[in-house]
Structures are given as structure tokens and as C-alpha cells.
Assembly symmetry: C2
Homo-oligomer: 277 residues x 2
């Protein structure tokens, strides 16, 4: 049997993986959850039929959502993750010895359970004593917080379904209030090559609440277009001013991120400049 998983993220463009084994098929209160084994990219987590990550290239996305903001922050003690139930983001966060606590707000407990079972390399991070898991709506968790976090990371599904509110201005008002004065917010925001109207909507909303808002990106082979973007929001934190000793230690553990990426990741295709203006 020649089995293929097809994803048509953009109408008319499909990315497909040959499937060697279906490891898990389930349904939580929120979404369908599947784990497949593929010929080329190892294990793949699918939520509602969309690729969340593959075990072969998840390192790019997870290193790049975490290390640029954590290294730009002089002393990231308290970090909050919105989503991130697979554990990949906290695995990278915990590499930073400055971090004293991580709160992970995941709406779907089943995602955590499935990832602990099928992606032990990522799921193992949940047993670290610095990690607290909040099962529930991240927007509700963050709303009452004040001056609570140094960095907040949005490792969410795309802005369809339950994650929609996490790409809207009321949420960003809460995020701003929940951050300490030198805080940084970073979130995944699809790709400038296929953004539709989500990227300018998000950057406009963030600009009302933060003095600095930019995009950066990374090359993730199994995401649609292969180029994925992140939005960065802060008040006057220079993303390029990092402690080289801290950076060297982190780089020693990385397969994608290098010291030069701290600046190069912010270089966007010319046509995308207006999306962050």
C-alpha cells in the first residue's frame, strides 16, 4: 500500500509525505490528533489534519522561536508559553540557565499526553521542576497577570478555530500588561509568502501596544512555502544586543541557530517590508 498524507495549506499547493505507519489516531474535546511515521521526515504530529511539526525538522522552528528573544533579554527569569503542548518550545527554553520558571498554557491536555508518548525527546521537558502546566484558555490565564513575565512566546496553531483570539488586539493588550517593562513577546505568524491579511492585521494591533514590532523568519522545509515567520514585539529592547558568552553556550546545543542568525533572521524579502511597516 502506497500511503500519502496530503496537506493543501494554500489552495492549489500541496505538500505530501509518504506514510510508513499510522501510530495514533484520536480526537480530543478540541481537535483531531494524529501521529504518523513518514519515510522522509520521521514522526509527524497532525492537529485537525494539519502538520504541526515533523521530528526531522522541528528543531528549526523551536530554536528560532525561543533563542532570539531569550538571548536578547538580559535576564529572562520568568517565561510564559501560549500553546506549545508538544514540549519543543520548553525544551529550548530550559537550555537557558537564567530561566527560573516556565508557565505553559495549553488548551488541550490530550496534545501533551500524546506528545509525551510519541515524541519523548520533546515531551521529556515537562518533568523539569521549573515547568508549570496550565490547562485551559491562554487568553483567560494571561488577562489578570501584571508585570509577571520577562518573555511570552506564542507557539499556537494558526489563526483558525480556537486560536483566533490569540491573534487579536484584546489578547495583545493582556500580553503587554502581563510582561515586565523590558519584556518581549514573540509569536509564530505563518509565512510572508502566503500571509493573506493576518500579518498586517497582527503587526498593526501590536504596534498600538508596543513601541517596536518586527518580523523575522526561518527556513522550515516541511511548513508551507518552507519559510516561516515570527512577530517580535517589545518596548525598546534591541534584538541585536546579546551577551556573547550566553549566546555561545546556547549555540553549542543548536542545529540551526548560529550567532549570525540573531541579525540575519530579521532580513526579510523586499516585498515583505511593508507588512511590518
Amino acid at each position: 500500500m502506497d500511503l500519502w498524507f496530503n496537506e493543501e495549506f494554500v489552495p492549489g499547493l500541496r505538500v505530501s509525505f509518504r506514510v510508513t505507519k499510522t501510530l495514533y489516531q484520536g480526537k480530543s474535546r478540541f481537535q483531531k490528533i494524529d501521529v504518523i511515521e513518514t519515510e522522509r521526515f520521521g514522526r509527524v504530529l497532525l492537529l485537525d489534519g494539519l502538520t504541526m511539526f515533523t521530528s526531522q525538522d522541528e528543531f528549526v522552528y523551536h530554536e528560532m522561536i525561543v533563542h532570539p528573544p531569550l538571548l536578547a533579554h538580559p535576564n529572562p527569569k520568568r517565561v510564559c508559553v501560549v500553546g506549545g503542548g508538544d514540549g519543543g518550545v520548553i525544551r529550548e527554553i530550559l537550555k537557558h540557565p537564567e530561566v527560573e520558571s516556565v508557565v505553559l498554557c495549553e488548551i488541550d491536555e490530550e496534545v501533551i499526553r500524546v506528545c509525551k508518548e510519541f515524541f519523548p525527546d520533546m515531551g521529556a521537558s515537562f518533568s523539569d521542576p521549573r515547568v508549570t502546566v496550565q490547562i485551559g484558555d491562554a487568553a483567560e490565564y494571561i488577562r489578570p497577570q501584571k508585570d509577571a513575565f520577562d518573555v511570552i512566546l506564542g507557539d499556537t496553531t494558526d489563526p483558525i478555530g480556537p486560536a483566533v483570539v490569540l491573534f487579536e488586539e484584546p489578547f495583545y493588550v493582556s500580553v503587554k500588561k502581563a510582561l515586565k517593562p523590558k519584556g518581549i513577546f514573540v509569536a509564530q505568524i505563518e509565512s510572508v509568502f502566503i500571509y493573506g491579511d493576518i500579518i498586517p492585521k497582527v503587526t498593526r494591533a501590536l504596534r498600538k501596544n508596543f513601541q517596536d514590532c518586527r518580523l523575522y523568519g526561518a527556513t522550515v522545509p516541511t511548513y508551507p512555502t518552507g519559510y516561516w515567520n515570527f512577530v517580535w514585539a517589545s518596548d525598546n529592547v534591541n534584538p541585536f544586543d546579546v551577551n556573547q558568552e550566553r549566546q555561545r553556550r546556547i549555540c553549542a546545543t543548536c542545529r540551526y541557530y548560529t550567532p549570525e542568525h540573531q541579525r540575519a533572521a530579521f532580513v526579510l524579502p523586499a516585498f515583505a517590508a511593508e507588512l511590518q511597516a
Copy 2:
């Protein structure tokens, strides 16, 4: 009829376009040539069933194979293109007022004819008086040349079939001899994410002939993995030392390349560093 073109460049990973129209199907002495109209990426040229470019994102590849070397060269008067029968590379080369002549060595006349007909935006460059077309084997054309070119660009198909010799050391010996002392050679070289053994083989061979050999890259959504690489070879030409006035004029015409790409494009994933060492 729901028609899809599927390309399985890497076993187990497929990229597919929905096809709205088949515009041309032919066969030259060398290869099958097809032109399809797709829902999402406009017209696509296929050679032997493999995507060469789409009209929607060809600008990324063509700007990035041309402008980094031409801007790093202080006065690129004579340029040679190996392959490039679609005309996209010469379109970008001709933007540089320093260029006095371009020789394009294409083995397959049919590719030029088909591209002039179906991709007029690229094919139009052939009528520029600075352009000379040499139909035939590029390796044979370059072999007797001496101190003839400032820049040589390898815009070839991948190293299977007729293009194999263009990725081997004897060809690079000819290229070195054909270049003037401050000359630069740049060629497409697939992706570090799926390189197999071609990239280290090529960089090793180039290093024997040039003092400096590096890789750079660009994000091309419709190429396998979305991240495509180029190899750069020269003797002590600094890729980052460019005339800002010339660069500004070129950037005014670009949709991908910006001044910051001249440096950022050379920042590779950490795991790829050893491929150019």
C-alpha cells in the same frame, strides 16, 4: 477534472500544484519540455518533469543568483551564463549598467524558444544587443577561454543527466582559467536540507581551484524544502564589500534582494557549516 502536477524530488516528499491548463508539451533532442498554468503559482516550466521555476516566485532565485556576485565585483563588464535558457538570469544581469556583454551557453535551443513564447517577461532579454547566445555544451565553450569573464554563473539543471559534468572538477578548472583574476563563479547547488553528497563534493573540488568557497541561500517557496543554495568561488573577493550607490539602484528593481541580503544570505543553518568547510 481536478488535475495535479506532482514532483517527488526527494523520495517520500512531494510538492504538487493544481493545474488549470496544459499550455505546451514537447520533446527536444535533450529533454521533455512542458509548460503548465497553475492555480497558485502562475506558469511553470518543467524539464523532464521537474519544476525549473514558476512565474510567481522565479524572481527570488534569479535575483539571488545574480546580484550578490555582480554587486561584489567592482566592475562586471563581461558575464557568462552556463545554462539559463529561460532568460531570467540575463534579465537580472542586464540591470547592471557596468555589463557590456553577456554570453549565454545553453545546450537546448528549444528551451529558449519555448520560454520566449510562454514567459515573455523573461524571454524578452534575449533581444538585448549585449547578449550573445551560444547553443551547445557549456563545458566545451568555456574550456578554451582564458581571462575572458568577470563573472560566470551556473544556472543549470540539477546534477543528473547532461548537467553532471558541470558539477565536476575538470569543469571548475576551466571556469577558473576562463575568469579574470578578480573573477567570481556562482552556481545553484540544490539545498543543504537535502544535499546528499553533491554539496561537499562540489565545495571540495572548487576549493582546489579557488582560495575562497562558500555557500549562500534564498527562500524559494516552490523548490524542494523551500530553501535553495548557491555556491560562491573566488580568489579573495570580499562578498560584503559592495558599492552602496550601485546596490541602491539594483534594489529599487528587486522584490526579494535588499542591501541586508548581501550578508544575511551567507548565514547558513548551523548543521550546514561543515558542508562548506
